[in-house]
Symmetry: C2
Subunit: 332 residues, 2 copies
């Protein structure tokens, strides 16, 4: 079996061969083919810029792999800023002994996902570390987008606003955790890993009625909404019965002792919109396949300033806090 050896990371002949013969052709574009220290690109007056490292374990999981995730994660962060994602960087840290075949699959997923999302991988880096100094492969991506909607921020949220999710909650976290527990039957539970830029773009037309966008990754829906309310003069009230959770995720969370609201999502967005635009926002999301399960899940109120409150299915209510410890290590 062909594996990555240390000299693939030396900056010498083997590094060049790996990059020029395998990685660059798969990610085909002019900027990357120039093979400079960086890419020279056309710009815009206002930019969004974001980065994430991906250390997910296992690096192949139902519904995706670390390559797909690395593109989606940064595309989504850029889109949540109100920008159209344009360019991505791609940096590998690979453990010595990593199967070349797995690397090919991962790069192929990167290429396919970038194409789907309409972004170009324009610059990159490859490092190799000794056996035992990583866990297979880690990937960093950084992304540049051109601003399309200015002023998205939790600061613009007002009492009366509507909280919308673009689909079912907790899919990525539940799928990865189930994949780690290989003794459990895995059924058809898939990560929701997907680019969100088309959904985000469909909402930019709401103008200032769109207050904020966020993709609830690590820490899940609950942690993201807590970040919106924390230190602010409003609260968010969620209605448990309105939050879409797939049967598979609900069952997996039961088995694993997890709460879907704290499970990571990698293909869902939360939007807070003015109440008069809620219907329009829902329609815009549902008109796209990746938003067909979009739902209104809560309302902004003045009842418990700074808090996230859950109205339970049984009519009670409880305060939700940010994820404290590490419920799901290495989920992304």
């Amino acid at each position: 079996m062909e594996v990555i050896t240390l000299d693939y990371g030396s900056g010498g002949k083997k590094t060049s061969a790996l990059i020029e013969e395998m990685i660059v052709p798969m990610l085909d574009n002019d900027a990357l083919r120039a093979l400079g220290d960086g890419a020279v690109l056309s710009g815009a007056e206002k930019l969004a810029f974001s980065t994430d490292s991906f250390v997910v374990s296992p690096y192949f999981f139902p519904g995706g792999n670390i390559g797909k995730l690395s593109v989606c994660g940064t595309v989504n962060d850029v889109a949540m800023c109100g920008a159209e994602p344009k360019y991505l960087s791609l940096a590998f840290i690979i453990e010595e002994g990593f199967p070349m075949e797995d690397l090919k699959k991962i790069v192929s997923s990167v290429a396919e996902t970038a194409k789907n999302a309409g972004v170009s991988i324009v610059t990159g880096d490859t490092k190799v570390v000794e056996k035992g100094k990583a866990d297979g492969i880690y990937i960093n991506t950084a992304g540049i987008g051109f601003m399309r909607h200015n002023g998205l921020s939790p600061d613009t949220i007002k009492p009366g606003d509507t909280v919308i999710i673009s689909g079912t909650a907790g899919d990525h976290g539940a799928a990865v955790m189930l994949a780690r527990n290989t003794d459990l039957v895995q059924g058809e539970l898939l990560s929701d890993c997907a680019p969100l830029n088309r959904l985000a773009s469909a909402l930019y037309g709401l103008g200032p009625d769109l207050r904020v966008l966020r993709d609830p990754t690590r820490g899940g829906v609950a942690t993201t909404l807590c970040e919106f309310t924390e230190g602010r003069k409003f609260s968010i009230e969620l209605r448990e019965k309105d939050i879409p959770v797939s049967e598979g995720v609900a069952a997996a969370c039961d088995i694993l002792g997890l709460d879907p609201l704290y499970c990571a999502n990698e293909g869902k967005l939360l939007a807070v919109v003015a109440p008069e635009s809620a219907e329009k926002a829902l329609e815009a999301l549902r008109s796209l396949p990746e938003g067909q399960n979009a739902a209104v899940i809560g309302t902004v109120t003045e009842n418990h300033p700074g808090k996230l409150v859950m109205r339970t299915a049984f009519g009670g209510s409880r305060i939700l806090t940010k994820l404290a410890g590490d419920q799901l290590p290495r989920i992304c």
Copy 2:
């Protein structure tokens, strides 16, 4: 001793505390304080974009540390594209058990180096992996610059051009290798790790007489110059006696069995310039403290197309090739 535990990477309360109470205040700037999914920035018509991951071992070395290196590496790649570096992203992968005190020193170096280089760290990410799944700390930076000099490329090199280095060769590689061999006396050998954007900027004024800029990192001066000549119709002839190498580096390379021309540099640039501008380029470099040892080291000729040729101190000549294997693993 306070150490990084897995829950610092959870995306929950501890992650927020680490980022908001330690990292963000040290790197103080408005974009980062907004703590969004990404930064919203003013742009430009043409951009340079580059990324590198840093896995250097040891992460503290004479003359720098992984934090300083992470800023310099990307600032330099952007500057070599002909751009003024403006914004950096900063992403940590930290091994569980990493000393908090070391992280503080590293972030502090990042902040100081970014300030010296005139760039802002505007977005970031922190992941924590289990003990044994990394080697202390890995850092990725990506950088955006605004283009100031278009068309830098080895394709513009012409026979008769002059090859200049901004200072002594091999300092970073030799210093790090010596630091790994702690049984050897380390003397005063320091990495040259430094931002190169002021030197690069001093050369942009040469216009088209400046053909190409490159920082000879992994693989050293020889590998970088081979990348210039490879597959092209000219050769580069280096004059061994003209290549500045410090006494300390020469001695260390003797002991370690290394060649300074293949040792990484992290604060030196190679410039190819038209012969009529060579004197002006040297003056511009030498007018800055980081360029005081700048020297003409070679000439572009048509004698051995595609080759890098060394005229030795003894009057002979030999062909230099790209670094083949991994002479210096994890040097950056």
